[in-house]
Amino acid sequence: MSSYSVTEPSPRQKWAAGILVIGYALITILPLVWIITTSFKSPSDAIAYPPKTFFTPTVEGYVNVFTTRTRLSPEQLQALGEPTTWYDKLVRKDGLVISGPSRFAERFTNSVIIGFGSTVLCIVLGTAAAYAFSRFKVPLKDDLLFFILSTRMMPPIAVAIPIFLMFRSLGLSDTHAGMILLYTAVNLSLSVWLLKGFIDEIPIEYEEAALIDGYTRFQAFYKVVLPQAATGIASTAIFCLIFAWNEYAFAVLLTSGNAQTAPPFIPTIIGVSGQDWPAVAAGATLFLVPVMVFTILLRKHLLRGITFGAVRK
């Protein structure tokens, strides 16, 4: 508080700041725009050079990402008769026919189950641990906290081989439970530390007041601390979800048939029939949606969460 400048920035400073922010926003938004526009292009438009800014939009990419297709000879196509659905018609003009659904929906569902499952577990365990660290006399508290943090001091993938072997012998390879456990383990240190910061900020008097008012320790935690920690929990949940959602290396290594998530699946779309960039872009675009929705829903909390500790009430 003390080292605050109370001087209003000059109009020139405001302009400079505005231009910087807009420039930064453009740089970050450009890849997203690129992916989203590509997903609506035809394959030839997608690889056109120079890149096409204006093009005839098509949902072919989206059709392709959800289906598998077979190339047939004109005679065979003739024999099939008229296409029955709009998406059939769409692929037919390239000499293809839809032979079945792709595994994208399944992979996407896996991502949702594993991403949200590990986030929920991370928040439940993290809140409980953070509360204990914040409020109770835990022997060797500082050492334990450091130990928890130290699990993040190397890239998680550095322990990929031991984890691969452990998962194999425990029967956790390629299971939802295994991936949820793994992502929870990786995220838990972040979640404990973030949440401890938030809970530390909640004055202990609130709980004491609740204890005096006749509530048990658990009720005080549940009814008084949790609502106060909502901001922290929301922003921690977003961080956890983004990590679990985007994780690629472990997913490649540990999942294949059953529990494969979307990130390792999306690149495999490429090879089905030539380089189908619109289909890849469509998969990536769809993949963005859940995290985006989740973040938008919690964005008010997120903003407060990012600045936590900076402003004293």
Binding site: P203, E205, Y206, E208, A209, L211, I212, D213, T216
Partner: protein, 365 residues
């Protein structure tokens, strides 16, 4: 309501002893002040009574029942925190009704009780507001409302006026005292402000360094401090201390202060060595032919009275005299002390020596 008894209560935090062996009794319906400088253990003592802290040893009785190890939720007491601790995610009405909900009260009963409390505290108009935007005084009233709504055995207040600005504090202090008189509930009130303690309390415990220094009615404590610490802590300006080497026997009625005989209340115990004579500023009068002399070094004007600082053989001495009297700097004056009000302390231990004056006050404490 409730009588509260503290017996040999001790609290250690690791190597630090916050409260060492305190004992006192708070009678039913009393407005009781725990007074002392910060870090003296007064808040810890209160928190042990409330059950927010467990005593290391000793016993706490509420209404004859030993509650030392009972959780706060089972003691049926209310606590008003310095920072109010209103639940920020609830509005005023919910804050006040929260303790009732835990008792299992429902619907109409809760509504009636909250309305009654709101009327007493004059906060009916803010019942449906969130607590975030309330002024300090209103927050204080809501905190009080949450305390009184459940009709507890006792109220514990930890510097409840500390967060208010000075102007408003006095007003709230009056309101608090009036509320207490109306409800008649035992109230234990922690403060470091001796004026607040004197003004509001039926009884005061003065604590220092984790120990009870004195326990009694405000006037007893002011008139007959048990230790030099109490004498200095209570009263503004504080009691003058004149340190000298001398002696007094049992039944002695005077001491020899640098060759001048000063009358004191008849001694009930004797001592020889380093002694301290304690004189309240208002018990110093000027008399030209008095043998004890002092030269005026400063005069502070306070409206109806003035504080005159005099340098004497035994250091600076402050006198409170009427502003009608004239006092000029550098004037050499004879000083008279009101013999019936003087205290003698053992300079080493700081303990007051028992005399005719204080035996009634200090004998039981």
């Amino acid at each position: 309501m409730a009588q509260i008894k503290i017996q040999n209560v001790r609290k250690e935090f690791g190597a630090f002893t916050a409260v060492r062996s305190s004992s006192f009794t708070i009678e039913d319906g009393e407005f009781f002040m725990l007074l002392g400088p910060s870090g003296c253990g007064k808040t810890t003592t209160l928190r042990m009574m409330a059950g927010l802290e467990l005593p290391t040893s000793g016993e706490i009785f509420i209404d004859g029942e030993e509650v030392g190890m009972k959780p706060a939720s089972q003691r049926d007491i209310a606590f008003v925190f310095q920072m109010f601790a209103l639940y920020p995610h609830m509005n005023v009405r919910k804050n006040i009704s929260y303790p009732l909900v835990s008792q299992g009260l429902r619907g109409e009963e809760v509504k009636t009780r909250v309305a009654e409390v709101a009327r007493i505290l004059k906060i009916e108009h803010i019942l449906d507001r969130p607590v975030g935007g309330l002024s300090g005084g209103d927050r204080q009233r809501v905190a009080l409302g949450r305390a009184i709504v459940r009709r507890p055995k006792a109220f514990f207040m930890d510097e409840p006026l500390g967060a208010l600005d000075a102007e408003f504090r006095e007003h709230m202090a009056e309101e608090l005292r009036a509320l207490h008189d109306r409800m008649g509930a035992t109230t234990v009130y922690v403060t470091h402000d001796q004026l607040e303690a004197m003004q509001m309390g039926d009884k005061i415990v003065v604590m220092n360094h984790g120990s009870v220094e004195q326990f009694g009615k405000p006037q007893q404590i002011y008139d007959w401090p048990a230790t030099k610490f109490v004498a200095q802590f209570i009263g503004s300006p504080s009691m003058n201390f004149l340190e000298f080497d001398g002696m007094i026997g049992i039944g002695g009625t005077s001491v020899d202060l640098g060759g001048i005989r000063i009358n004191v209340p008849a001694a009930r115990e004797g001592r020889a060595g380093r002694l301290t004579l304690g004189v309240r500023p208002e018990h110093v009068t000027f008399r030209d032919d008095a043998p004890y002399r002092g030269r005026i070094s400063a005069v502070e004007y306070l409206g109806t009275t003035q504080i005159v600082t005099l340098s004497t053989e035994h250091g600076d001495l402050k006198a409170r005299i009427s502003s009608a009297q004239t006092a000029r700097e550098d004037e050499l004056l004879g000083l008279d002390f009101d013999a019936r009000t003087l205290s003698l302390f053992d300079a080493e231990s700081g303990r007051a020596m028992i005399s005719e004056g204080n035996e009634g006050v200090l004998a039981h404490g």
